[in-house]
Amino acid sequence: MNIWLFLLVILMIFIVIFQIAKASEYVSVLKGEKKSRQQSNRINGFMMLGFLIAGLIGAYYCNKLLAKETLFPQGSASIEGEEIDSMFMLTLYITGFVFLLTQIALFWFGFKYQEKEGRKAFYLPHNNTVELIWTIIPAIALTVLVVFGLRHWFKITGDPPAESMVVEITGQQFGWIYRYPGVDGSLGKKSYKLIDGEASNPLGQDWNDVANHDDKFPTSMFLVKGKPVKLVIGSKDVVHDVGLPHFRLKMDAVPGIPTTLWFTPKWTTAEMRERTGNPDFEFEIVCDQLCGANHYAMRGVIKVVSQEEFDLEMAKLKPQYFAAFPDKDPSNKPAPAATPTADSATATVAPAVNAVASK
């Protein structure tokens, strides 16, 4: 649409509204202040009632339209998230009740007690009994919410089960790097000063630590259905956030301060595709903390698979160590083909980001 035409239309509407407003003011001066006040009182009183009814219908309709677009119909994809969902519903019932009670009272009183000839306002400065009641009842309701909330909170933030697998996830502008400990089950030491993208060392692994020699860098995060996973979260540059909406969890990635998060995936990606009816469904990792110009494109993918598929996937990967030192790779023939895993580790996200950014 032509912007000038649009602005002209707006201006015309303004002028019309203004003329009406001016005219109505003249009329009200002619009618006398009291009479015009009574009239506008009646109109606004009915608007109060109308807004209340339209608002409640609107809220119902909005829920009907949008509730199915949220994550609730598909349920939590992690076992821990189920409790968050039930906690949410409990809070919703309590606040929903208060919401209806107070909003209906507010607009109904507005309508009911609008100024009328002969009505006298009821002089009521205070009443200790009712004030005490509506201090204590919210306090009790909130205590319930705090108790339930903290029970879940301590469970979620508590120690992960002993059998958990460990995955390290590191944020950088603008993508995620996933590191798996390999067969020795431990992640090797690293230092940000050793980071060297060109030498296939995006995380600054200390190659003197043998625990690093078998650490692997897949391009997506692979998790096993039903197996708890502990994420060790870090950042190379600014504060990012590992957002896992389907699992109902998130945790910041802070440079210099590692954080952790654990959960148990409930469904494989394939199962979710079936359950949601969306063949392109992915568990997306969302960056939830503003991290720069391409924050919105910092997408990661979690593939939840069965144990067999997971083992297969891991077996396919070469440790990053061999990418940094191709000559140490036992399977390397005299003519090695570049360093596929290394490139993918540093560059996985970059092309995706560029693709979006250059659009």
């Binding site: 003011e25 107070t102 507005g110 940000y192």
Partner: protein, 605 residues
Amino acid sequence: MSDIAMNPQTGTMTVPDVHHDEHGHHHHESFVTKYIFSQDHKMISKQFLITGMMWAIIGGLFSVFFRMQLGYPDQTFPWMEDILGRWAEGGRIKAEFYYALVTMHGTVLVFFVLTAGLSGTFSNLLIPLQVGARDMASPMLNMLSYWFFFLAGIVMLSSLFVQTGPFSGGWTAYPPLSAVGEMSQGSKTGADLWIVSMALFVVSSLLGGLNYIATVLNMRTKGMTMTRLPLTIWAFFFTAVLGVLSFPVLFSGFILLLFDRNLGTSFYLSEIYVQATQSALPNEGGSAILYQHLFWFLGHPEVYIILLPAMGMASEIISVNSRKPIFGYMAMIGSLFAIAILAFLVWAHHMFVTGLNPFLGSVFVLLTLLIAVPSAIKVFNWLTTLWRGNIRFTPGMLFAIGFVSLFISGGLTGIFLGNSALDIHLHDTYFVIAHFHIVMGVASFFGMFAGVYHWFPKMYGRYMNNTLGYIHFWGTLICAYLIFWPMHYEGLAGMPRRYYDYSQWQSFKQFGGLNEFITIFAIISFALQLLFVFNFFFSIFKGRKLTTPNPWNANTLEWTTPINAGHGNWPGDIPEVYRWAYDYGKDGVDHIPQTQPVGANESHH
């Protein structure tokens, strides 16, 4: 102005002759001293209000720009390039500039509009008038408070025009993004200007706040005990206390950030590798989380700095227009006090997902949800004030009722977010945007509008146009709910804040249509605010003139001054106060002004 002093014996103000009895010709004010470097609290409040309105238009326009991007991510608008130049090359806002717009929108509205524009306007206007003082404790500092604010605005405005663009790291300015120039274009010169501007703003707030506190405590007229103060004054008082105690912490946080940026210190920086230059920074041992603690130590009280004045004004306006005393006056003060105390003890609820110690987190959950108790008391008391009243729907009253509605809606979602177990899912999603825009953004705006419509006659001796006021109110209320209500659902889909484009995401692209819907109503809402601005300026010059000094039949002292009060407020002696401000409908009398002595047969409440 040290020539105004309190007489401890009588409690009355003794003012040198210039202020006494001969109002009207004693000031010999030039244009500059009357309209620009004025020391009259009433003029300073108008300066704050009009400057705040200008900033509100700018900040609102920014939101229209970024809503265009969110509503129509796949379209181009050549006119945007006409306005924004290279920031919207080809008619589509660049990602970097999108973040600059988001950052500026937040900073401008939170600080310049809802802090300076709200508190600055109404604390200045109402504190001396309602406590019965001729001016602020220090009119000179008061004037400086405005001019530091103005200066802060100039610096902020200039940052829009620097080569690398305005700051784009969000209004919270978390380091390292805000501390290291290589991390983003906006973190270069724009960030320095942003910090300098905010530092100036803190100075302005402190000068204003100290003045408000001193005036409320020391300059009340005879008989105006603390428990006879209107609730507006209590609200402004607690607001000022919050600001004076928390802004210095923010100031130190910003100065350390400035050091990290320019002097090579490591307060917030540790173990950072810059992707853009492929190099590691030397900084070690700092903590990015330290900044968040310092920031939110102000940042959370700040939301109450924004909200409390709106609460105070809504209380007063609802009582006046219901023709009933505010229900539970002491409980209203008590709950304001409780909110003010708790405001300092809940800051870390913004940081539940930073890796905060879970036990510490649990303490903050408890304290955060505790705020719901005084908030609930306030809501119930407002409702009871309306109950069996005789309600007059002036535009001010409508906005006060709208404020209560929005405060309920937005306050209840705070119970979700304050519970860490839910916050870990909802943090930084659109649920948060919906929550704080309703409860702190729109609700406080409604409080501000209520105040402007209600006290406009006091400010300019004229009325604003009622019909435009009604259109403004109903239109804005409907738009506010249509914009922010559906956002809760986006949040429940996990949709993150501050994304430039959602169309690449499997999880969020289903909301394309909804985002367009929201954008349309955001634009309509913006247009309605322009209607208000028009009404405001038109009415200053052409509004219906006041014929009585007390147009709403209110009890408070500001309506005992002449219609156009000069510097010094009362031409004669300052009136004495004999009762609280809320004797409406007592013993069958419509209203009894505070200046009327208690009669022999009057009932006690």
